[in-house]
Structures are given as structure tokens and as C-alpha cells.
């Protein structure tokens, strides 16, 4: 506290030109009296050194999941999706649940990097890189499912795109929310990828400048000839802002469109106008939980405690309380509207959700998503790393169940009672989900090893105003 007041006092007149004034009550964003050089050293050490035992074990685990799950994917592609537990009544279950879940997870990265950039939230600098990487990999995992869930993915993978073709007048159906998904997800993916990559360029250049031999060439190629000139920085900053501006509406639109898959249907429990805001809140909720899960591990493994501080964790936990509560209100609103609408099918759908054959899924969802995040009202808990880690996983389980509940409990008993059926997953449902985990963690671990996990350039920019001590050299 003392140090920080020194910081603000001493530099206020001069610093206002370059940095925002930081209120004295704010805690420093980077602790441990890190210098600019320390930042470079701390982050590059991992990239330049040999992989640690922990990393090797993690990678082995991820690849095992990837290969074991890959077998399930292979069988599903070879024999057909009949290997899953789907039936005539329940046409979507784990496949689309996983899709929505992964897309939702991705949202946190964009929110942190784009929305918080626009709102000038400086605390995002330490975590945005990893969060964006998570977004990219989560969207890749998400995109797997719409392809795998098709009966004929070898055709669907390109027939769902509006490609000029020689089939005559065949064209995609722009009425279909699934087609909107195709556009929403691909736009989201492209923008996120570009945003992420552009942010990486100065850091790649830093690594390039420290490296030699093949690594110099490799990172040299990745850094696209970054010189670090003032002009380059100027361009860099404006591009970041523009991309942030482009990405911000995507945070809202992607999950809104994903929710249209359900909201525009005629199925009670799906046909709900509350879905867009409810899905977006849920996506941010689950995304932040996933960011926390990953960051807490990375922080520990890479010894980044000074960059990702308890303050960061607390701030993210606050976002989780807010979004978790929004989601909770949405759940209750759905019930109210079902009753208020006077539509018997709608009313039954919700009573069935809570008390029908899938009651256990519903109450798992309620417990994980609505009740457990409320623990974060207690400061001790939201500043406790272990509690945060446990709750972040609970939230992700809960959000998976939310999608499962929405998808499966709505269609398993809809209008015609004769067709009511129960869905039970098979080993192949689990296998394909495992595959997506394997893919995600393999990618994330590769990223953590070979790419700078913390945005060095941006962290350096917040050092002066917010780090504990400043050595002005």
C-alpha cells in the first residue's frame, strides 16, 4: 500500500500523459517489484527453456485423451452416429451440448481482450493472451461438433457453406439458424484469430531478438518483420482498437445466434425469447470459469504469481457472481413465463424439466450454476485459490448441464406423448467429448510452451503505474 501510494504520488503529474491515474485504493496489478526486464525474462524463460516434467506429463495426458477420443471419432465417422445414444425423439444430445458449451467457453477470451480493452481495464493485460488462446482452441473444439454431428459430414462440411456450385440451383437455406451459426462461428473464429495473432507479434519479435539459429528463424517468421518502431507501435495500437471494436459485438452476437438454434424452433422449452441474453450471460459465466481453471494451473506451473495476482482472480470471481446471478434469474424467468403464458405444452416442459426423468440433470445445473457461485460473495472464498479452482470446475460442469437440460429435456418429451423417449449416452458420446478435451489441452499446452503466455508488451505498459516498485533506469 505504501509503495503504491508512492507510485501514484510521485508520478501523477507526468504519468497522466501516458497512463490513467490509478486510484490509491487499487491494488497493484503486477506484484513482486518486477522490472521491464523481469517481465521479459519471466515470460521467455518458459519459451526458451526445456519443457518441464509437469508439462510433459500434462501433454502426455492430453495426447492420450486425444488418441483415445480419436478412436471414438474414427468409429463415429466410419460407422455412423448411430454409435451415440441418440434416437428418433432426441436428435441432439451430447453433440450440440458440447458445441454450445465450447462456444460459450470461448467467449471469456474475447470479452477480456476486446471489451475490457475498450473499457480500459488494465488488469486484463496479464490474462488476455491466455484467454484469447483459450478462445481460439475452444472455438476449434466447438466447430468439431457441428461437423461430427452430421449424418454425412463429408458432404455437410462444405454443403453448409454458400459456395458457388454446379449442382444447379442448389443453395443454402438462409432461413435456417444452423446456417447463421456457420457464419457466426466462422466470423468469430477469424476475428479472434487475427486479434490474437496481432497481439502476439511484438512478443514474437522479443523472443526472436533473444534467440538464435532455427528458433530465430521460426519466431522471426512469426513476428512478420516487427521492428518496434514508433510507427509500427502506432499501427499496432490502432489495429488493436479496431479489432477490439469488431470483436465486441461478436461477444454478444455469437451466442445470441447459437441461442437462435433453439429460440426460433417450435419446441416448448426451446421456443423462448429470453434465450439471447441468457445464453450470452451463460457464455461469459462459463468462459470466465474456464479461464480461471486454466490460469490457476498456468500461474502455478509457470510461476506467474506476480503477474496473475489474487486481485485478478478476485475480479474474475466477481464477474462470475454477476453472470451466474443473471443466469439464475433467467432460469426463474423461464418458469414464470411458462406459467404466465398459459401454454400447457410450455408449462409441462418446465415442470418436466424439474421433476421429470431428467430432474437430476436440472438440479445439478441449478446447484452448480445458481447456488455455488453465490459463495463468492464471501471475500475469503473469492480470494482463495483452491476454492476458486474448485468452483470454476463446478461452474463448468453446471454450464454443460445447462445446455444438456435445455436440449435434451425439451425434446425428449415435447408435443406427442407417444414419442416421448429417454436418452442415455454411450461410450462413443463420452469418447468424442474426450477427444475435444484432448485436442483442447494439447493445443493449450503447446501454446503455453512455445508462445508467450503473458502479453509482455502490454504488461510492461502497466508496470509503471501499478507495479509495486519502479526502478527507473
Amino acid at each position: 500500500m505504501e509503495v503504491s501510494s508512492f507510485n501514484t504520488n510521485s508520478g501523477s503529474g507526468h504519468e497522466t500523459v501516458h497512463h490513467q491515474v490509478v486510484a490509491p485504493v487499487r491494488e497493484p496489478l503486477v506484484t513482486g517489484g518486477k522490472t521491464v526486464r523481469d517481465v521479459t525474462e519471466d515470460v521467455c524463460r518458459r519459451v526458451e527453456g526445456k519443457p518441464t516434467k509437469g508439462w510433459m506429463m500434462g501433454m502426455a495426458l492430453a495426447l492420450t485423451a486425444f488418441i483415445a477420443g480419436g478412436y471414438a471419432v474414427y468409429r463415429v465417422l466410419w460407422d455412423g452416429i448411430g454409435l451415440w445414444g441418440l434416437n428418433k425423439t432426441v436428435g441432439w444430445a451430447w453433440d450440440i451440448t458440447n458445441f454450445v458449451w465450447w462456444v460459450g467457453i470461448g467467449h471469456a477470451g474475447t470479452l477480456i481482450s476486446a471489451v475490457l480493452l475498450l473499457f480500459r481495464q488494465k488488469w486484463r493485460t496479464s490474462i488476455n493472451r491466455a484467454a484469447e488462446a483459450m478462445t481460439i482452441f475452444a472455438v476449434i473444439c466447438a466447430a468439431l461438433f457441428p461437423v461430427l454431428h452430421m449424418g454425412r459430414p463429408w458432404l455437410g462440411a462444405y454443403w453448409a457453406l454458400p459456395l458457388p456450385n454446379t449442382f444447379g440451383s442448389l443453395w443454402v437455406n438462409f432461413n435456417s439458424p444452423l446456417l447463421w451459426d456457420v457464419f457466426a462461428i466462422s466470423t468469430y473464429f477469424s476475428v479472434s484469430l487475427v486479434f490474437w495473432y496481432i497481439g502476439l507479434i511484438p512478443d514474437f519479435a522479443t523472443i526472436r531478438d533473444r534467440a538464435s539459429g532455427f528458433r530465430k528463424k521460426f519466431y522471426g517468421a512469426l513476428s512478420l518483420g516487427w521492428t518496434g518502431s514508433a510507427k509500427a507501435w502506432m499501427h499496432y495500437e490502432s489495429v488493436s482498437l479496431i479489432l477490439a471494436g469488431m470483436a465486441t459485438p461478436l461477444v454478444l452476437s455469437v451466442h445470441t445466434i447459437v441461442s437462435f438454434d433453439f429460440a426460433t424452433s417450435v419446441i416448448p422449452g426451446w421456443h423462448t425469447t429470453i434465450f439471447p441474453p441468457y445464453f450470452v450471460a451463460g457464455a461469459i459465466f462459463s468462459g470466465f470459469a474456464m479461464v480461471l481453471t486454466l490460469m490457476l494451473i498456468t500461474r502455478k506451473a509457470f510461476k506467474l504469481e506476480d503477474y496473475i495476482t489474487i486481485t485478478h482472480i478476485e475480479l474474475m470471481n466477481i464477474v462470475i457472481i454477476i453472470t451466474g446471478s443473471i443466469v439464475g434469474i433467467a432460469y426463474i424467468t423461464e418458469f414464470f413465463i411458462a406459467w404466465y403464458s398459459g401454454v400447457p405444452a410450455e408449462q409441462y416442459a418446465f415442470i418436466n424439466r424439474a421433476t421429470g426423468p431428467y430432474w437430476w440433470a436440472y438440479w445439478t445445473m441449478m446447484t452448480c450454476n445458481v447456488i455455488s457461485p453465490q459463495l463468492f460473495w464471501i471475500k475469503k472464498i473469492r480470494r482463495n485459490i483452491y476454492a476458486t479452482f474448485a468452483l470454476s470446475i463446478v461452474v463448468n460442469i453446471g454450464m454443460w448441464f445447462e445446455r444438456f437440460v435445455i436440449i435434451v429435456t425439451s425434446i425428449h418429451r415435447d408435443y406427442i406423448p407417444s414419442s416421448w423417449a429417454y436418452f442415455s449416452p454411450t461410450i462413443y458420446d463420452v469418447g468424442v467429448y474426450l477427444f475435444s478435451f484432448g485436442l483442447f489441452f494439447s493445443c493449450f499446452l503447446a501454446f503455453a510452451k512455445f508462445f508467450p503466455v503473458v502479453n509482455m508488451a502490454e504488461v510492461k505498459s502497466v508496470l509503471k503505474s501499478t507495479s509495486g516498485t519502479i526502478k527507473e533506469d
Partner: protein, 1040 residues
């Protein structure tokens, strides 16, 4: 002076004709097959760059494609085109379905010489165009690889000549030794076959002809002998009955002549064209049968109460008639109500009993006689011949064979080792008998044991005839030349009588001798024959009236005392056996279409099971959740059967219902692993077959649990009046809109009809607008339409495992709902069916919505709307997202989870798509769908197309009736009516009273008060209409 010499190409040039001038400068002035750059308004020719590129592109890709190796698929063309066959055009032949006593006059559709579909023959006044599910499925049995491909001697393939020589040799030796012979058959409908048997008997005069039925009614002729002195089964006319009372006779499914009875019954249940009267139907039975499901009042009674119930009815009626009543004291629900109704409808009522007890049948005769029904609804002068079995003769044969009384036995298409209670004795006897012959067309439990197998033709390969009712004849003609090296059983029999006549000539000679003289309209036999062959039927008995009133001369008191002796409750549990719904007596068990056809009541496929009442299930702690159920040990006469439990609402308390026809030990790979064989448990009562076992039954829960394949696991309609709308007859008579629900949605200015608000502009139907009307009152749930649809549309049979996963592929299903006593809002209670529920059958297929929710959600527009109101599915375009199926409120879309065809390893039961022979049954007009593709009812679009082409060929507009969808065509109840709703003269337009609507969102409006759309409130505007279910009850409720 210029005098340039000119040559003309022709007079056209000289005359400078404008047409010539126009083309004079073209490089090819006369004709070019390619439209060379003909621009709008212009006629300049010459290939443009664009066309050149197009053609080059085509040329290169064509050359490239030609270079690729494509699999060679051999199609063998006709060397000489047969006169009667045009490739692509179906031919229809009238024929007869004959399987033992099961009969229907049919029309066989053939394509390029292959029979692919069976339709009912409307010319027949017996079956009236109706068919049963088994008859629809039987076309697949023709292409069954499990049939015998050649005669067998001692299990080895042989030549016919050798077989005949050996059989004749053996017959001569037996004749020389004076040994006895037996010909054992099921009911013989064919007069020619009877003549062939007679010819054989004439040659081998020591021959007994023994006839039995797997499920026998032989007490009926015996009772009629005692009552009227005539040992016949009379013909019944349900269509003339206002009140129908049935004691355990499942006359819509398997009792005597079910197709005929269903069609008659349906006539009394049609509330259309202003008719406000319908019959009232009482059913007293142990198992909830198909017939019981249709009854207005149904009482579950134990088998041991059967006779008492009939006696009680007799007493009640006797009291009304002022006659002496019998000593019987029972009070079975609804009996006295039935008596009152019967008494009021004297002469217009019918009482039938499925009991095989002579005493009960005598009492039933007495009741019908008291009600004055003889000569009106029952006719002894025109006997039915569809059940001819003689239980006592069969019992004598079985004992005789076992004791070695017979030196030779010929099983004429009969399989008693399996389907006779003493099958084990017959198996033992076969080993002792010198000459054993079977004419079975496939390996079965009997033919495995015999020395000689002389395989019979399938009914579609043979000449044959039938006389299901006296004086009503029908012909069967071959529609394909025999696939295997088989021979008509009658021809075999004649060969063994040393008469080497072809069976065709033999049938013809029989007709010439016996039937030709019965008519006078044709003077020449050949024209008589051609006429009969064309129409399929010859009915000299038509219009024959009853010769007079039959005078009942039976001894009622003796019958009553017999009943009092027999019907006593002795044990805690009783077993009521019945012929399985789909597989019947088991003879068609190798047909996957039938194995996969759900029982219309329990919705179970691929198994037989123990039907247990709700109370008993509670007692034993049985529960069913989705496909999981308990198993139960049912011990009958010391033998224990471990069966899956089905908790069956409507099952009489203390009874267990089990189907016969399963547990085949030999009979084909589909048949052999399914269920348990209960024939050894069949009882006997004074020498007559008795399907109820009232003594020595023990029922104990088994430790085991198992999975059972049901196509419907939710039993009640959950009070959803938007799905099923029903009323009682009296309500309907007061208000034709009774039971109708008119949903409303909230708008800005109060409530509106859902059809008034729409996002869509709607479609225009200029020419046709196809629609289907389904009368829920007439539909009896017989499921013939389901199989008809399967065969017509090449729908795979996916097997038990897939059905358990709820993935049956049927495009048309019959939803069956039980009523519930649960109060509205108490959903848990509403899920429980009433103990003795009312049953509703609701055929459900694609509703061809005008605002189809499936169409908007498909990302690749694979499902689109046609200009004729059809919701069409383009299989080639489908990528299988299943979004359409999820968004279908009716859940009628079916997904190809796997590759079901050409995949014998995974789907061996799909006989129609997994071997070359089976594939011959496929309809060439319908694509076999690949893996990963969605499919659904298309309103038989191929039939619509065929009808249109027919009309176009004739240069006329389509008439109503040019097209009929497969389901409607097979319906013996006439519950489904298909047609063009744009045509005011069509049957559907008249039946539904269709009018053009003032509402722009709606195409047509049905003014018929009973017509409604299922789920009207979501405004998808189906083209399928339902007509309300009307029950002829005094008040609503399952027990009222």
C-alpha cells in the same frame, strides 16, 4: 449483261422462301441438336465463347469421369421384350393370399416381372379390398433365402424325379403291407387341393386326411351340430349388427376371418355423411386384445369366468325374454347393460365367443337364437371355411403316429412339431414312421425331421384357388416363375397319386367341372376362366339368402351344467394364451417386417412376453422404465417359462397373457432367436384345444431383468386434447362439434384463432393440393397400413437392438393411448394408465404441414415445399443435421443412424436390403436411403407421379381415385381417405366438406364438425386431418 451461272440448292432457294433465307447463312442450315447461341429476340447462330467454354468444360470433365474406374453393376436387359412387360410400368394381377386358413383376395403389383406389393382386391365381397399386416408382409417371404431351393432326401439336395420315385416306391411298399397313411394339413381353403387330396386318397385308400389349426375353433362346428344339426361355422355379418358382444373373440385380429370381420365392423363405425348412428361393442376378455381395444365397453375377466359370463348374459336375456334362466350366480361388470342393449337390438345384434368349449358355444347359439339373429347377422346356410381344423382327429393322429400306427405321413404345408401341443410326440412318431414327407417351403421343426422334403411354391408363384366361404371362390395365379426348384404341393400330391398333370391344368379342370356349371353368364369355359382370372373372384354364392330360420335345438341346461363344472377358480393365477399379433401362429416368423411390427396394444416388437395386470405387477414389485423390465417365471403344468414382463393395463387381475408363435427352433435366422415357444403349454378341454390354462399355473418373479423393444414407452396422452379429441356418441348426436377443442392465442385485441396470425405468406397450390383424412373412430389399429407403407417405401427393418434404442424406421406409426384416471395437472398420475383403460389408436405420419417447421430449419434446403402441398425430402441433399426432426412437433421424421442396406454383418434381420434375393422386393420407384440421411412419409409421391403420368397419357385431368397412398389402400376399415383437396368432387373434399377459406393464411377449411388438426395451436397447418374419436358409451371415463 451479267449472266452469272447460278446453282440452286433446291426450289426453296429459287423461290426465296423466308424460312430458307433465314437459315441460308448458317453453317448447318438444316438441323443441329445443340441450341447454338440462340439469344432472346435474336437468331444469330454460331458458337459463342461462353458455349465453347461450357462444352469444353463438359468435354473435359466427361472424359475425366470416364477415365475413373466405376464399379461395374450388371443389369441384364430383356433379350426379347415380353409383350406384357414395359420396363418402369407396373402390372397388376388378381390373386389370393392363402396361408392355412388365412385368406384375402389380393391384387399383386409386379414390376419387371417381380411381385413387389400386395393390395386388397375390391372385387371380393369377402375381404372387400382389405388386407392384414401379415398379408402385406408376405411378399417379402417370397424372396426369403431361407426357403428350400430344391427338394431334399434325408436332408440332402435331390432331383424331383428321384424324390418322386422313392416316394412312390415307398407308397407301393406300404400299400402292399397294408399300412396306413396320413396327410396332415392346416385348413385347406382350396377346392382343387381337396380334390388332389381326394385323388391321392383314391389311389392310396388307407389314407387319413387330418386337418388342424394352430389356433382352433373346432368347438363351433361341434356346437352347431348339437344346436342345429349342422357341423359348420356360420358366416357372421358384423355390418348388420347394432350391438356386438364378444367373449374373448379377437375377431379383428385372428378369429376365423379377421379381414372380413374388420371390414364389416368398420361399416358400423362410420360417422360420416351425416350418419349419427354407430354400433355398440362389448368385449369380455382376459388379455387386452386389438378387438378389446376397440370396444366401447370392455370387462376384464379371467379365463375361468368366460363360461360364467356367457351364462350370466343368457340369464339376463332369458329374464328379459321371459324364459327360464339357468343356475348361475355371477355378476360381471357390463353384462346386464349388454343384455339390455342386445334385447333392444334383437335381430340386429351379434354375440360371438372365442371359446373353444362346446358348452359355451351352445349357450352362445342359444343367446343368438333368443335374439333372433339367425338368418340376419348369422347365416348357417353360407358356412365359413377359413377354419376347418378338427382337434379330436388331430389328437388321434398324434397318438397314432407316436404308437407307430402310421406307415407313412405327408405333412402338407403343416408344421405340427412346432405348432401343435403334442409336437414332441409327433417328432417321436416321425422317427418311427417309414415314409415321412413334408411340403414345407422352408426348413421348419417338422421338415427337418422327415425323409423327404418336397418344397411347395410361395403363394405368389403358384396356381391355386380358394373357397373361404361356401359359394365364394377365388383364384391365385403365379406372378413370377418359381425362384427356387420348388413344386406346388398339390402337384406333388397328384404326382404321388401317379397323376402327372400340371397343377394349372388340374385347377382349371376342377373349375371346369365344378364351378363353370354354377353360372350362366359365360357360355364358354375359357371366357369364364379369363373373367375369373381377371377379377380374381367368382362368387356364385353372392346374394344367396338364408333358406330359413335356424331352429335352436340344443340342450341349454346340459351346457349350463357343463359350464358350471368347468369354470371354477382353482388357482391364484391363470394363463391366457393367444396367437401373436404380428407373427400369428408363427408360420411367418421369419418375416422381419412382422417381427418389427409393434403389437398394436403393447407396442412390443421382436418378442413375446408375459402380460401382467397392473395390480399383480404392484404385488410382485415389477416396474418398466423405458426398455428395461423384469422377468417372470411362469410355470404351466410343471414347465417353467422365463419371460419379460409387460405391465398391461386392462389385463384381468390374476391372469397372465402370453403369445404363441414365437420361439421357433427352426425356421430361418430371423425367426429363430425370438421369444419362447408356448405351444407345449396349450391345454385341452374335452378333446378340444383350450388356450386358457386355469390349473397348475405358478407365477414367480425372476431375479433377472431384461430389455424389451417397444416403439412407444409412454402410455397415456397426458390429457392433451390438442392431440386426441374424443366424445361419446350421445354428446356427438347432440352437438357434432363434441369433443372438439378450439385453441386460441393471445393477440393485441383479445384472443384469436392461431391461424389468423402468420409470418408466412403461404404457398399457392394451383393444380393439386393433397390431403389425408384419418377417421379415429373407424381406425381399429390393425397396423396393415404400417406394413403396407414399409413395403411400398423400402423401409428397413432395423432389428431388436435398434428398436430398443428407439430407432425404428417406420414412416407411419399407430400411436396407442390408454386413458388415465389421473386428475388434470397431476402429471405423475396422468402418466399412469387406468386399470381398465379406454384405448385410442391414432395413425401418425408426416402431416405435410403448410407451414412446415422442418423446412425453415434445414441449412441446406434438403426439405422443401412442393407446389402441391407436399413437404418433400431430397435425400441426396440431406447432410443429416437432424434439426428438422428435432423441430418436428409430430416426431415423424426418421434418421438413418447407420447404413442399413448392404450391411449384413450389422443388420442381418433387414432381409429386404441385405441380400441380393431379398432386394428383389424393393420398390424401384423409391430410393433406398443412405446412412446419415433423414427420411419420412412422402404421401407416396411416387404413386402420385404414376397417377399423373397415367392421366397425362390419357390426355385428361386427374380423377379422384387415380392415386391412393399405400396406407389408405391397405386399410380394411376405410379409415384413411387420401385425395386432392383442390378437387371439389374428391372423396376427401366431400368427406371433410372442404371450402376455400376467407382467411388468407389458410388454404382450405374443413366444415366437417369432426375434422381437426392435431396441434392446431402451433399453426403449422397440416394437410392431414383427423376426425374425432367417438365412443358409443353412455358417459365418459374408463369404467363408465
Amino acid at each position: 449483261m451479267k449472266n452469272k451461272k447460278q446453282y440452286w440448292k433446291g426450289l426453296e432457294e429459287l423461290n426465296r422462301e423466308p424460312e430458307f433465307e433465314q437459315h441460308a447463312h448458317s453453317e448447318f442450315p438444316e438441323y443441329l441438336p445443340v441450341n447454338l447461341n440462340k439469344r432472346e429476340g435474336g437468331n444469330d447462330s454460331g458458337t459463342s465463347r461462353r458455349d465453347f467454354l461450357k462444352m469444353m468444360g463438359f468435354g473435359i470433365s466427361a472424359a475425366t469421369l470416364a477415365a475413373c474406374e466405376a464399379p461395374v453393376r450388371k443389369a441384364i436387359p430383356y433379350l426379347n421384350k415380353p409383350v406384357e412387360i414395359d420396363p418402369g410400368v407396373a402390372n397388376f394381377y388378381a390373386s389370393s393370399y392363402i396361408n392355412g386358413g388365412d385368406y384375402a383376395s389380393v391384387v399383386v403389383k409386379t414390376r419387371e416381372g417381380r411381385p413387389i406389393k400386395i393390395e386388397g382386391n375390391k372385387e371380393s365381397s369377402i375381404t372387400m379390398g382389405g388386407t392384414s399386416a401379415q398379408q402385406q408382409a408376405s411378399v417379402l417371404s417370397l424372396y426369403d433365402q431361407q426357403r428350400y431351393d430344391a427338394p431334399r432326401i434325408a436332408g440332402k439336395k435331390a432331383e424331383w424325379q428321384q424324390l418322386d420315385e422313392e416316394v412312390l416306391g415307398a407308397l407301393k411298399r406300404i400299400a402292399a403291407e397294408g399300412g396306413r397313411l396320413a396327410v396332415v394339413s392346416k385348413t385347406v381353403l382350396s377346392p382343387s387341393m381337396r380334390a388332389a387330396v381326394a385323388a391321392f386318397q383314391a389311389k392310396n385308400f388307407n389314407t387319413d386326411h387330418i386337418i388342424y389349426d394352430a389356433v382352433s375353433v373346432s368347438a363351433i362346428p361341434a356346437a352347431n351340430e348339437k344346436s342345429f344339426g349342422r357341423a359348420v361355422i356360420p358366416s357372421y355379418d358384423f355390418s348388420k349388427a347394432d350391438v356386438i358382444v364378444s367373449f374373448d373373440a379377437d375377431f379383428m385380429n385372428n378369429w376365423i376371418s379377421p379381414v372380413q370381420f374388420s371390414a364389416q365392423y368398420a361399416k358400423t363405425r362410420k360417422l360420416i355423411d351425416g350418419n349419427k348412428e354407430m354400433s355398440r361393442h362389448y368385449q369380455f376378455e382376459s388379455n387386452l386384445s386389438l378387438t378389446g381395444g376397440n370396444a366401447d365397453y370392455r370387462s376384464p375377466i379371467k379365463p375361468s369366468e368366460q363360461g360364467l359370463a356367457v351364462a350370466q348374459l343368457y340369464n339376463e336375456l332369458a329374464r328379459l325374454a321371459g324364459e327360464q334362466s339357468l343356475a348361475a350366480k355371477t355378476n360381471i361388470e357390463h353384462v346386464s347393460r349388454a343384455a339390455k342393449d342386445l334385447w333392444l337390438a334383437r335381430g340386429k345384434s351379434l354375440v360371438v365367443s372365442g371359446s373353444n368349449d362346446v358348452n359355451v358355444q351352445i349357450l352362445v347359439n342359444a343367446i343368438n337364437s333368443m335374439l333372433d339373429n339367425y338368418g340376419r347377422t348369422i347365416n348357417l346356410d353360407v358356412p365359413l371355411k377359413t377354419r376347418q381344423g378338427d382337434d379330436k382327429a388331430m389328437a388321434g393322429f398324434a397318438a397314432g403316429l407316436k404308437s407307430g400306427k402310421y406307415a407313412g405321413v405327408i405333412f402338407l404345408g403343416a408344421n405340427p412339431v412346432y405348432d401343435y401341443v403334442k409336437g414332441a410326440d409327433i417328432a417321436k412318431g416321425i422317427k418311427k414312421t417309414k415314409l415321412t414327407v413334408s411340403t414345407s417351403d422352408r426348413r421348419d421343426e417338422t421338415s427337418e425331421l422327415v425323409n423327404y422334403v418336397a418344397p411347395d411354391h410361395h403363394f405368389l408363384e403358384q396356381w391355386n384357388d380358394a373357397e373361404p366361404v361356401e359359394g365364394f371362390f377365388s383364384l391365385a395365379q403365379p406372378t413370377i416363375s418359381p425362384i427356387f426348384n420348388t413344386r406346388q404341393a398339390g402337384e406333388s400330391l397328384l404326382a404321388w397319386a401317379e397323376n402327372n398333370i400340371s397343377y394349372y391344368d388340374f385347377v382349371k379342370s376342377c373349375w371346369k367341372k365344378n364351378l363353370f356349371p354354377m353360372q350362366s353368364s359365360q357360355l364358354l369355359f375359357d371366357s369364364f376362366w379369363d373373367e375369373s382370372l381377371y377379377s380374381g373372384v367368382f362368387e356364385p354364392g353372392k346374394g344367396k339368402t338364408s333358406a330359413g330360420k335356424a331352429v335352436f335345438a340344443g340342450d341349454v341346461n346340459e351346457a349350463a351344467s357343463g359350464i358350471a363344472k368347468t369354470y371354477k377358480t382353482t388357482g391364484e393365477y391363470e394363463v391366457a394364451l393367444y396367437a401373436g399379433f404380428a407373427v400369428g401362429d408363427g408360420s411367418q416368423a421369419n418375416n422381419p417386417f412382422l417381427q418389427e411390427l409393434p403389437d398394436p396394444i403393447s407396442k412390443v416388437t421382436w418378442d413375446n412376453y408375459a402380460a401382467v395386470s397392473v395390480e399383480d405387477a404392484h404385488k410382485f414389485g415389477f416396474s418398466m422404465k423405458e426398455e428395461n423390465t423384469n422377468m417372470v417365471n411362469v410355470t404351466i403344468s410343471g414347465k417353467t417359462y422365463e419371460l419379460p414382463v409387460v405391465i398391461q393395463p386392462g389385463q384381468a387381475k390374476g391372469t397372465v397373457g402370453i403369445a404363441l408363435g414365437y420361439g421357433r427352433r427352426s425356421g430361418g435366422k430371423v425367426a429363430e432367436k425370438v421369444g419362447l415357444d408356448l405351444y407345449p403349454a396349450v391345454g385341452s378341454l374335452e378333446g378340444y384345444q383350450n388356450l386358457s390354462v386355469t390349473k397348475g399355473v405358478k407365477v414367480e418373479p425372476s431375479e433377472k431383468s431384461c430389455r424389451i423393444a417397444r416403439t412407444q414407452t409412454h402410455q397415456t396422452v397426458m390429457g392433451r386434447t390438442n392431440v386426441v379429441q374424443e366424445a361419446t356418441l350421445s354428446e356427438y348426436q347432440k352437438d357434432p362439434f363434441a369433443g372438439r377443442e378450439f385453441p386460441h392465442i393471445s393477440g393485441m385485441d383479445g384472443t384469436l384463432s392461431p391461424t389468423t396470425v402468420s409470418l408466412w405468406k403461404g404457398h399457392k397450390y394451383e393444380d393439386h393440393h393433397w390431403g389425408l383424412a384419418i377417421d379415429l373412430t373407424a381406425c381399429n389399429g390393425c397396423s396393415s397400413c404400417v406394413v403396407s407403407c414399409n413395403v411400398e417405401n423400402n423401409i428397413p427393418a432395423v432389428g431388436k437392438e435398434e428398436v430398443m434404442k428407439r430407432r425404428e424406421m417406420t414412416w407411419l406409426r399407430i400411436d396407442r393411448y390408454y386413458s388415465s384416471d389421473g386428475k388434470a395437472g397431476d402429471f405423475e398420475a396422468m402418466e399412469q394408465a387406468a386399470a381398465n383403460p379406454e384405448v385410442t389408436f391414432m395413425p401418425m405420419m408426416c402431416q405435410q404441414c403448410n407451414n412446415a417447421p422442418c423446412e425453415t430449419v434445414c441449412p441446406v434446403a434438403a426439405t422443401t415445399h412442393s407446389t402441391e402441398g407436399l413437404n418433400q425430402m431430397t435425400y441426396n441433399r440431406c447432410i443429416g443435421t437432424r434439426y428438422c426432426a428435432n423441430n418436428c412437433p409430430y416426431k415423424v421424421r426418421r434418421f438413418n443412424w447407420f447404413k442399413y442396406f448392404d450391411n449384413n454383418d450389422s443388420f442381418p434381420d433387414n432381409l429386404s436390403q441385405n441380400n441380393e434375393l431379398g432386394k428383389m422386393v424393393l420398390n424401384p420407384d423409391v430410393t433406398v436411403r443412405s446412412r446419415g440421411v433423414m427420411e419420412k412419409c412422402s404421401f407416396c409421391v411416387q404413386r402420385i407421379q404414376a397417377g399423373k403420368l397415367e392421366a397425362r397419357k390419357d390426355g385428361r385431368k386427374m380423377n379422384d381415385g387415380d392415386v391412393d397412398v399405400a396406407c389408405a389402400a391397405s386399410c380394411s376399415a376405410g379409415a384413411l381417405v387420401f385425395g386432392d383437396m383442390n378437387n371439389p368432387e374428391s372423396r376427401i373434399s366431400k368427406m371433410l366438406k372442404l371450402k376455400k377459406s376467407d382467411n388468407v393464411n389458410v388454404k382450405v377449411e374443413a366444415k366437417e364438425p369432426r375434422a381437426y388438426h392435431s396441434l392446431e395451436e402451433i399453426n403449422v397447418q397440416p394437410n392431414v386431418y383427423y376426425l374425432t374419436k367417438i365412443r358409443n358409451k353412455d358417459s365418459k371415463g374408463s369404467n363408465a
